[in-house]
Subunit: 199 residues, 2 copies
Amino acid sequence: MGSSKKLDKDEGLRERKKRETLMRIAVAALKLFIQKGYDATTLDEIAAEAGIARRTFFYYFKSKEAILIAYLDNGLVRSVKPNLLAQPTDQTPVSAVHQSLEKFFGAKESKEAILVDKLFASTEAVRARMQSAYIEMEQAAFEALCEMYPKEPRESLRMVAMMSIGATRVAKEAWRKDGGTRPFADYLNETFALLNKAT
Amino acid sequence: MGSSKKLDKDEGLRERKKRETLMRIAVAALKLFIQKGYDATTLDEIAAEAGIARRTFFYYFKSKEAILIAYLDNGLVRSVKPNLLAQPTDQTPVSAVHQSLEKFFGAKESKEAILVDKLFASTEAVRARMQSAYIEMEQAAFEALCEMYPKEPRESLRMVAMMSIGATRVAKEAWRKDGGTRPFADYLNETFALLNKAT
DNA sequence: GAGATTATTACACTTAGTGCGATATTTTCT
DNA sequence: AGAAAATATCGCACTAAGTGTAATAATCTC
C-alpha cells in the first residue's frame, strides 16, 4: 500500500542529483547576489559558481528573478496557507492570521532572513517582485480563510486577507527602517492592533 | 518680473518638439501594445512607428516598462496626493480617501482606461509593475494624510493609507473580474464599507 | 546490456539596454 | 546675421538575458 511509484526511501539517483543541482544553483546565486549585488551578478558567473553550463541554468529556473521567487516561495509564501489552516477557528479571522504569522516569524528570526530581506529590498526589479509575493500571500490567506470560515461572506474575508497581509507589509517596512533591532513580532502586534482603531 | 527665462507663452521650438516626440513614442507604443501585446512588441517596432531611431527611444524612456509607468503616473499615481489634499478634513481619514478616489474614477470612466487596464493585467512583468504603482499610491496617500491630519498618530495614518489603497485594489480586481459592467464606484463603495466591518 | 527517458551541453539567434562618439538642430550671445 | 554653446538624434559596437534546436551523456526500465 505504498505510493504509486516505489518506496518512500527510494528517491532515485536522478532525482537526488537534480535536487542537489537545484540547490547548488540557488546557493551559488544567493552567495553572489549578497557579495556583488543582484544586477552585477551575471548568469555566467552563477553557472560557473554552481559548476554547470549557462544553458543548464534555464533548465532549472525560467529566469534570474525566479531564483528570488523560489526563496520567497520556500520561505513565507508557500507556508501562509498551511500555517493559517492549522489555526483554531474559535477566534476572529484577523486574529487567526495574526497568530499564524506571529508563530512563523517567531521561529524564523535568523541572520540569513535579514540578509535576504536586505537583498530583496536593494534592487528595483527585485522589490517589484517582492510586492508580487505579497499579492500571492494575500491570495493564499484568502483561500485558507474561505475554508476556515465558510459562513462568513467572501468579500469580507477578501478584505481581511488584504488588511492582514498589508499589516504584515507595513510592519516589515517599519522593522527594516529601524534596522531590525527590536523583534519583528513587536511591529506585527502594533500594526494588527491598529487595524481596529484606524477606521 | 516674468519667470527667470522668458515669457510663459514662449515654449521654445526645442521644448515643443521634445514634448511632441515623447507623446508620439508613448502613443505609438500603446497602440502596438494593445495590438500585439506587450512582450511581442519590440523597441524596433515602437521606434519605427514613432519615426525615430532605436537609440533615441532611450533618450526619452529609460526602459520599455517605463512607458507603462509613465501612463500610470500621469493617470492615477500622480494625482492621488493633490486630489486627497483637496478634500475637506472634517471627516475621518478613510472617508477622505474614499471620497477623493470616487471623484477621480467618476470622472475618468473612459474606454481607453479599460483597455489600458486590461493591458496592464495581461503580462507578468507588467502586473508586477502595477503593484509597485499601488505601493507608490500608498506612499502618496500617506504623505497627504500626514499633512491633512497632523494630530493623528502617523502609524494610524500609515494603516489608513494601506487599507484605503488596498480597498481600491480589491475593488478593481472585482470590477475587472466582472468585465467592467457595473460602474467602478459601486465596487469602491462596497470595499470601503467592508473596511469597518471586516475586523 | 538494449532501448527509452531525461539531464547536460554547445551553438546560433533575438531582444533589451549601455557607452561612446559623430552629426544635426536649436538656442544664446554679440 | 553669424559664431559658439547646448542639446537632440542617430549609428555602431557591445553586454547580458532568454529561447530554439539538436547533439551528447547520464540514468532508468526491462
